[in-house]
Symmetry: D2
Subunit: 368 residues, 4 copies
């Protein structure tokens, strides 16, 4: 019985518009452009409001894939999930993670990396950052799991969600219909949308029970240990990518995760590596096991207390460098120390994604 096989390629980019390394995969026959279902990218912008490297990379990817597939760039962008995370502070190395689905003769009895995709319906502005977004996200996650053949929530190790935000126009539209919105601050709406989406993931996976709406963006004790959510202006619905292990899938890839309880929780990184079958020496993955490490995905956030294990950090007080940039540099350093490489997908904006100041870390590995 043929089975799906998840493919994950990690390739460098020389600048945000550089898709040459992906094209090289196509040219070498290592990947068929039709197999691509998602591209995650770590681009070298500031990861904040005026980070245009994300949109630039999406435009470049859409153009390139469109040319390869004979499709309009817009059609590609509508079909292939492209999630760019800006910010390669410290030693982080700009790279793309190309997710694709191929086919194999038979499923692997031990299970293998599985990819599920899900979508919510379009949201009305008044639903963002509120219970309807939580519920719809949970439904989409369950659908993505079902589609990927993952029955056990414990086998879900990473859920990427791309979610909408409020704009002045959307707020005005809601008001014109006599509705209120969760916030009239458009920047704040990004955090609420990310937070509601993360809680939706947690709900689908049983990490939380029913959550009162007032807890969104407020009660940080509620979180998902596998969610990674990002808000973008270009969509109206949530797009969900579930990564887990499934006995229905083929291939030698697997995924594991752990939750960093704070930004310097190296033991959690070790736990995630161990979960994926990778052992360290002297704290670090040794050179001869490097080729088995396929991808690392993590979330970073400055602790809201201004402290890490009781000692002051200056992230919130630095008016020259945004706090999230400090956090990515730090978590990138901690993880790079463990894995011995720097092309790590560390993204910011971790509302309800891991505990305050910490966050999920997932590892995709090739079996030994």
């Amino acid at each position: 019985m043929p089975a799906r096989r998840a493919l994950l390629h990690r390739v460098p980019m020389r600048h945000p518009g550089d898709t040459a390394a992906i094209e090289a995969l196509f040219d070498a026959g290592a990947l068929d452009p039709r197999q691509v279902v998602a591209v995650l990218g770590k681009t070298e912008g500031n990861g904040c409001v005026n980070d245009f490297t994300r949109a630039y990379a999406v435009q470049a990817l859409s153009l390139m894939l469109g040319r390869r597939l004979g499709e309009a760039p817009e059609a590609v962008a509508a079909r292939v999930a492209m999630v760019m995370s800006g910010g390669t502070e410290g030693g982080l190395s700009p790279h793309f993670l190309v997710l694709a689905v191929g086919e194999d003769a038979a499923p692997d009895p031990a299970g293998a990396l599985a990819i599920g995709i899900g979508f919510t319906p379009d949201f009305a502005p008044e639903e963002l950052g509120r219970t309807p977004q939580v519920q719809a996200t949970a439904t989409a996650v369950r659908a993505a799991m079902a589609g990927a053949g993952i029955a056990d929530p414990a086998q879900v190790h990473y859920v990427q969600v791309k979610c909408p935000l409020l704009t002045s126009e959307r707020i005005a539209a809601a008001k014109a219909r006599g509705r209120t919105v969760a916030t009239e601050d458009t920047y704040h709406s990004m955090g609420l949308s990310r937070g509601a989406s993360a809680i939706g993931v947690a709900l689908a996976l049983g990490e939380v029970a029913d959550v009162p709406e007032a807890a969104i963006g407020a009660d940080w004790s509620l979180f998902s240990g596998v969610a990674s959510t990002s808000a973008g202006v270009e969509l109206l619905r949530n797009e969900v990518i579930v990564l887990g292990n499934s006995p229905d899938w083929a291939g030698d890839l697997c995924i594991a995760h752990a939750v960093m309880r704070d930004a310097i929780d190296l033991p959690a990184v070790h736990a995630a590596l161990r979960g994926a079958g990778l052992r360290t020496e002297d704290g670090q993955l040794p050179p001869d096991r490097q080729d088995r490490l396929v991808a690392v995905l993590a979330k970073a956030e400055p602790s809201s207390t201004g402290l890490i294990r009781g000692r002051r950090h200056i992230m919130w007080d630095d008016s020259d460098i945004n706090a999230t940039r400090h956090a990515r540099a730090l978590v990138g350093g901690v993880i790079a120390g463990a894995v011995g490489r720097t092309d790590i997908f560390v993204s910011g904006g971790a509302e309800h994604q891991g505990p305050d100041g910490g966050g999920p870390v997932a590892v995709v590995a090739r079996r030994g």
Copy 2:
């Protein structure tokens, strides 16, 4: 036979002018202001040209110590070595390291942390960044070792050097006497002075043999594995602080070091911890051994190749955040992962201090 005892207190600062935690040590009787020989500080500036947190902290320390000792602030500043390193990027926590020398009944047969101080004569401008600075620094290091009773270069684990730089006035003075200087770029002179000082340390310790003048600031294969040098406009000579282990000293402190071969060399950090008798679990010093870790001192620099283990870093290309800031954040993250705390003295400007992109890391610990 009475013996000297090295004291090292690590205390937080709430801002660069905050010396309250040091005063609390005095008030509690934990430290006598007369015992203080040096203060190292990690302040929350940008660590670059316009980082005034360093001068502010020195002014505040001088004022406070002067008040405590009944001395003029200037007199204190001339006598007590105060080395401020700006930049607490990522999770680094602003703190002071107060070095003091007390007395004990007898030396520890196993040896203990020893502090030696040395000075070069004032340099003529034309000597900076050149062989005379190298030679004089080596002589001062040897004198500091002798003063501290450290005969074996292998027992020297950290050498802090504060060195002068060229100013327009100093360059003009040299020219008026018909002399040339190593560079007429005053900013560049800082790197050359740091580099010549580091090579001087390496020479004293036998890490390098005679070094041709042209290698200063050019041949990065020549370096000291224990030097940490910083340039300041306020002095004309080199001031040297040697930290090592000596059988003549008392107390339960000891020091060890290792050389990080690149910015993510976590195994080197582990080696330094092991050298100081500290073992990690899951890559990190566990909570019950935290009180034995007294200080961590390291150097950070972006690799000149633009790569870390073959993967591109963006430190040199980021026009918003200075490259040295990225490097400190990264190395701070790697070390914080290993030691489980963030009050780590990571400083930049690592010419000839460790290999290109790497640097020394020293650990002061309390014996188990």
Copy 3:
């Protein structure tokens, strides 16, 4: 009948701790340290949360004045108002404005620059950013005017106010007494305190009638055209410096002001210059009238609309450079174009100080 004479010296600083140019005034006999009543400084920090150049400059000034006067630095700081404004973006040149009061044989019949000082009582935390702070500030302004012999509000052209802010401790203290505070966000409290102080000035001068408390930090149509307020953690009361013209004072200095309706309101700068008797040529004060321009003081803020005369500015969206830094650079450029020099006191944080996106501009000049 002897009369007071206002002295205003503008001197450069080479760095925030450099008070040499003020000392040179003392040494040259141009100024007696005992005459100094206030020092305003434009320092080269970022003008935001982690700008330590302000405290550094105050410490250096206190030390220097203490040494000159034989007083403790703390005593000087308590007596002489020292208001440092961080941020010399664009072409702004770091400088001090030293305000002093001397004596002359007789008042100038035409009136002359007058300096008045006033203080409120210490505020309880619950009074900050609220009506009590407004009322007390108004009272202090009236007292300062009376002290300076300025009866006509129209002759007040610049009112500098230094005001307190809320800290976590102060908020807790208020709560312990069963009181609420205006905001529990300490950063926000700075804006509310500045805003309430500015409205207090407006109230004293009749620029507004009674203001409902809810308008503070909310209704930007209410503002003073002469207030410049700044919040600092080191005080509990408002300190007020009133600059105006009074027939009781002697000397050849006078002051005028205008209100910039937006950041590029060059005609308003021209109006202020004209008011002080200075005429431009080709838009700029010509070289032969430069010596008559003694000081320029202005406020800068990004317009909250994101627009300047209908065109988008990017100040609020730039996550690399704080919005207030852009605003100071811009307003500094507009004014420097008019006055032909760059040592202009442009400060940020202009709540209720001029209209949204605009601000007061005052000119102190020597009569022709």
Copy 4:
């Protein structure tokens, strides 16, 4: 006799990928996409090494024009000169300037704005920043003038040059052929290429006589008062756009310029406005003449002396904000004060384009 008519449209952009306002011109029939010969853009990046807003805007423009014209994006980019200048510091407003050539019944006897285009042959790497680049640029400028029917160099008021830079590959290729290059520092090569191009413009216009190669990037007394040059990695030749007034052209547009002798030379801005028939009131172009101001183009650079009219600026010492960003904010403020609007094309990197610290300013206006 039919005559060419120069069209210049200034339109806002909401982000660097937003070409909607240009499309609106097409849709309204105000402009035919086939008429477009060049697009200049002021994008909201940092204008420095990692400013990807420029490439993003070019990609978006190429895509849009390609779609409108039924051409491949690459073909559009090869034909239409697209010069993006990053950096909208202070109050500068992101915008495009679309240059097009239409036709009219007869030339205007008084002369009108004329647009000339010229190209050099591709340069060998060893020619960049050296005399061959100077000479070839001069030839291309003369050709562009001839093509535009401008015989009198005094009628050339703005020359935009896009020029190549050295890359590691290009340097290696030159070396392989036994040639040296002007510099092996690729960043420095941008300045040399801009400088040689500017001197080429000056040579063509008789602003300088023959220039020794050693003066390029060294003798700042040699400059063009109308050149604006920018270096890009994507081309190997110089592309030249000449704007002047010609009796052969039709239409109501005209151009004038002046040279700012330093960054705050407002009188020079006034002179340029006057040259274009625009008079100010109270230093500023009044509202009722705003519609006659079509475009303002200027160059900004920090003075190399660290001084503006004898007063210190901090642009070179600020390690948080690049010096060129300060300079654009400042010059943008000075010019915005004069013209009463903020969509001004102020670009940095002004080697040999105006005097040290100053630069050309050109005004395109509609006749009254």
